[in-house]
Amino acid sequence: MNATAWSLAGIGAVALVTFLLGYVGSRKANTTPDFLVARRAIPATRNAAAISGEYLSAASFLGVAGLVLKDGIDALWYPIGFTAGYLALLLFVAAPLRRSGAYTLPDFAEARLGSPNLRHFCTFFVVCIGVLYLVPQLQSAGLTLTTITGLPSWIGAFAVTVIVVVNVLGGGMRAITLVQAFQYWGKLFAIAAPTFVLFVVFLASPSQGTQPLNDHGVMRFPKAELVEIKERPVRLQVPEAMNLRAEGTIDDRPAHGSVYWGKGLYEIGPNTKLWFQAGNPVPVVDGSPTTNDGWMRPQSGGIWNLFETYSLIFATFLGTMGLPHVLVRFYTNPDGKAARRTALHVLYLLGLFYIFPTVLGVLSRLYLPRLLVNGKTDAAVLMLPNAMVPNLAGQILGAIVAAGAFAAFLSTSSGLVVSVAGVVSTDIMPGKVRDFRWATVFTGAAAIGLALLLPRSDASLTVAMSFALAASTFCPLLVLGIWWRGLTWIGAVCGMLVGGGMVISAQVLSVVSSYTGRWAPSIFTQPALITVPTAFLTMIIISKASRRRRPQDVNQILLRLHAPDPLGFIRDRDIARFGTAEEKARLADTKRSGTARSL
């Protein structure tokens, strides 16, 4: 049995278990509250596992190790920020949000500020963020399948979409809770077991002919290696002059045979093969450190690098609380206290997980320098087991990692599809179970379309972008809405427009600049440090200016948000709108017995 077969078997097993758990979870789901918020009856520990399972996406499972391989210590801010975001959520949002009794983010906005306009506006941003987050998941699924089997990348994206849509169609939130909780533990095993084994292998024979990390000089290939640049062109930084063999296009000129590269930047066209000799310096994708010293030391990239780090901290710390698929899971808690407990559990589950990708990233710097050349650093975790242990054990470890990665795509995508479908079905459609199912199909179709159309970039970067968007739109809305009486719907709309507009235009500009000579400074790829305070300020100033529009019942609403659970102020809005499950069941029963009698 070869590596491909092992990995496919692992992926197949994950898909099968996902189906089975989804089926078990969805047997009793038949009402709208079941599909939206799982009847708000998920215990805190299971909910925390489900949230962590959903949250540890492709960006965490593959992306963090890839960024550590490429950028070194500065990439560690990603896992820190991803975890710290839950602390911010616990501190400012968790319990009051649950007590609001809302069932989606737009519903919360309407409940708090009493404006249908604001509700529609929020719907737009929820769909934006949801789809923006979904696309890299599907693309990474394609990458994983291509790395393992060499199949075209659309098959992986398509498979994930189909499995997710079928599961969500069956039981919505109720079906996926069990699936996601299981997938957290699955993922933890899938990353912890290979890390332990590979680390022991590394300790047993630290060198294995590789270059030690504490060598401060330029990185070099330990042995002769062939690197293939496939679909996308890359721009390489060459740190030292060298000779190599090339087949393809370099700097828009065809290259065949022996090539001399001086120090500098080279543009490598698609479908190019590069043969490096042992001892050649490793050319690195533009923007990453070329020496081990720069990789090892924090903040070695100067003042802009410092700025970028701060921006990332802001985006992740404040963005997590604005992610619709994370928030929707908090609505499934029975009460505010449980919501707080859930968030606290998540903190430790995530902390436990994030130790492992860092170790794998460091190890892959030793064994997989070729990924620095073709820029596919996201594949590091998948390729490392085979590169370090080239025998059956390595193949099995590779299969475990592949299965874990697949679980990551499935759980995150299902959470996103449920949250987007919940919003679309209740805000654009009437909100019956049938509408939810149609919305699921639409969401899946839109996401797969975009995933195939848009060019692929690093999963963590795209995901960081949706964090920036969430931090500049929903974070101010939630924080000010929960803690400040003065917020008005006009202020909220203006703040979200300014914050969201700035992030989106910054992103568009940085994409444009990446095609026309990279003139945009790095602030455009990570703008949260500027956009988040601007959004907050806009909301506060406009709200003060439009003081007359303050909702009349603001005091009652704040009481409801903050009153402790035993006082019994929680009123669930989904039940007010769609009725309780018991009522529905009684209605269905009378209908059934009525038809039975008439027969």
Binding site: R297, Q299, T309, H562
Partner: protein, 142 residues
Amino acid sequence: MSRHDAGAPEPAARDQWLGETARKPRRRRVVLADTTKSRGKAMRTLIELEEQTSVGEKLVRDLIKQQLRSAFGLGGLVLLGLCGLPLLFYLVPSLADIHVLNIHLPWLVLGLAPFPILYAVGWVYRRQAERHERDFVNMVDR
């Protein structure tokens, strides 16, 4: 009603019928505080809260202020700590040369240390928030 107790008179009627002197000393439940009275008071506070009388509003405002103070205090502390690290590494590059257990210090500081600290801060906040809420409930329920 079963056949067995059909013949017994109603308790109240029976008391009347027995009269004050004839009643045997019976077991009596003694409660320290009069529950009916305090429930009335709790109800009144709840209604005050709902209807937002000045008393109710003051109570809620105080609770929100308390919660916000702990949230902002702890959140600010964490943000300050996190934001201090990059600046520290930027200003004092020689920190990267310190080794602990043969690993560069910054890797330990960024790769391991934040997670238990974040959990600890979350734990402290949960305890504080729940205590504020318990105090509030006790005050209303008094």
